[in-house]
C-alpha cells in the first residue's frame, strides 16, 4: 500500500464489521447496520465554526475561574469560593488525593482539552506543521471523558438548593461565565470529528513529504 495513511475501509468500533469508507454530506452521519454505532460524522461548518466555538469556550473557561463563583451570606458573615476553591477545600481538609482529582476534572483537564483542541484545529486549518500536533490529537480523545464540568454543574445545582434553605446564596460573575461555558462546550464537542482531523493531518504530512 503506497498510501497507508488512508484506507478505503472502516471498521465499526463496537462490532468490528467492515464497511467501505463513507463519503458524507455536511451535517450527516453514517451508522453501523448491525449495532447502530456511529461509523463516521461530517459536522457542518468545516473548521471555522469549531475554532470559534473552542475559542469562546476557552475565554469563558478563564473567566469562570478568575472570578468568585458562589458565596454564602449567613447573618452578615460572607464566605465565597472560586471554581478552584472546591479542590482547595479538600486540600485544606487533608484530603489531598481527592483534591487533586477534583482539580484535574474541573480545572486542569477542561483547560488542557479546550486549549489543545484549539491548537490542533488551528494547525489543521492553516495546514501548518506545528510541533506536537499528532501527539496532542492522540491524547484528545483519551482526555475528553475526564473533563467533568457538566457533572460539576449538577453539583452546583444540588449545593445551591441545599444551601438556599439555610442561608442567602450569592451568585458570582463566574457562575454566568460557567453556564455559558457548559452551553458552548456542548455545541463545540459536536462540531468536531476526530477522524476527519486525522485525515486532514495526514494529508498535510503527505504533501509536506512529497514537496
Amino acid at each position: 500500500m503506497n498510501n497507508a495513511l488512508q484506507s478505503p475501509w472502516v471498521a465499526c468500533h463496537d462490532c468490528d464489521t467492515l464497511y467501505p469508507a463513507p463519503s458524507l454530506a455536511p451535517g450527516t452521519l453514517a451508522r453501523c447496520r448491525h449495532c447502530g454505532a456511529v461509523l463516521a460524522r461530517n459536522p457542518k461548518g468545516g473548521l471555522s465554526r469549531p475554532i470559534a466555538l473552542h475559542l469562546a469556550a476557552l475565554i469563558l473557561l478563564i473567566l469562570a475561574n478568575a472570578f468568585p463563583f458562589l458565596a454564602l451570606d449567613l447573618q452578615g458573615r460572607q464566605q465565597g469560593t472560586t471554581l478552584s476553591g472546591a479542590s482547595l477545600a479538600l486540600f485544606d481538609a487533608g484530603m489531598e488525593w481527592l483534591g487533586l482529582v477534583v482539580f484535574l476534572t474541573t480545572v486542569l483537564l477542561p483547560f488542557v482539552y479546550t486549549a489543545s483542541t484549539l491548537y490542533v484545529l488551528i494547525g489543521v486549518r492553516q495546514k501548518a506543521d506545528l510541533p506536537g500536533l499528532t501527539r496532542l490529537l492522540s491524547w484528545l480523545s483519551h482526555l475528553r471523558p475526564w473533563g467533568m464540568l457538566d457533572v460539576f454543574m449538577l453539583g452546583v445545582l444540588v449545593s445551591f438548593v441545599k444551601l438556599n434553605s439555610l442561608a442567602n446564596v450569592i451568585v458570582g460573575p463566574a457562575l454566568y461565565a460557567y453556564t455559558g461555558l457548559i452551553l458552548v462546550s456542548a455545541v463545540a464537542t459536536t462540531s468536531i470529528e476526530p477522524e476527519r482531523l486525522w485525515t486532514a493531518l495526514s494529508g498535510t504530512a503527505r504533501r509536506r513529504r512529497s514537496s
Binding site: 464489521t17 454564602l72 477545600a89 482529582v101
Partner: protein, 210 residues
Amino acid sequence: MNHPLRACELGMARCHTCGLLARMPQQGNALCPRCQSRLHLRRPNSVSTTWALWLAAAILYLPANLLPVMTVVYLGAGQPDTIMSGIIYLFLNGNWPLALIVFVASMVIPILKLLALAYLLVSVQRESAWRKRQRTLLYRITELIGRWSMVDVFVVALLAALVQLDAFATISPGLGASAFAAVVILTMLAAMSFDPRLIWDHTFARGNNT
C-alpha cells in the same frame, strides 16, 4: 458464509486512537502508520483487566456508602453524613426532586454499572450469542452515564468550600467521598477497558447469524 465481513477476519485492526484500519503483521508489535499508537485486534487482556477494575470498584463501594462523606457542624453540634443520610435529609426537607437526583446518581448508577459490566463480562466469557445488539447498547449506556456519579463528590467539595463560618457552621469532607470518587473512576476505567467487539466475536465464529 452469510455473515458480514469483519476486520479481524482479514487480519486488519482498527487503531484505537485515530480509527485507521491497518493490516496486522504476522508477528511482532504493530504501530499505526498514521499516529504511531500500538495496534491491537482487540483491547489487550480486556476481560481480565475489566474484572480486576470491577472487583476493586465493588470492594470500595462498601466504604463509599458506609463511611461518612461529610460532617456538618451547626452551632457547635454536628454529625457525619453518609450518602444515604444526605438523601434522606433532602427528602425530609421536602426536596424530593433533588433527593431523587442524588439517589439515582450516587446509589443507583454505580450499582447498575457494576451489574451491567458483570453481565457483559460473563456473557462474553460464556460466548453467548444472545441479543448482541442490545448488549452493545447496554455497554454504550454504561460508558456514558458513569461519570455522572461524581456529582456527590463535587457537592461535598463545594459545601466544604462554602460553609466555613467558624463557630457558626462548618462542613468538612469525609473519607467516604474519597472512596466514592475511587469507585466512579474505577468503574469508568473498567468500562473503557472492556472491548465491546468481544460481544460479536464468538457468535460469528460459530456460524450463528443474528
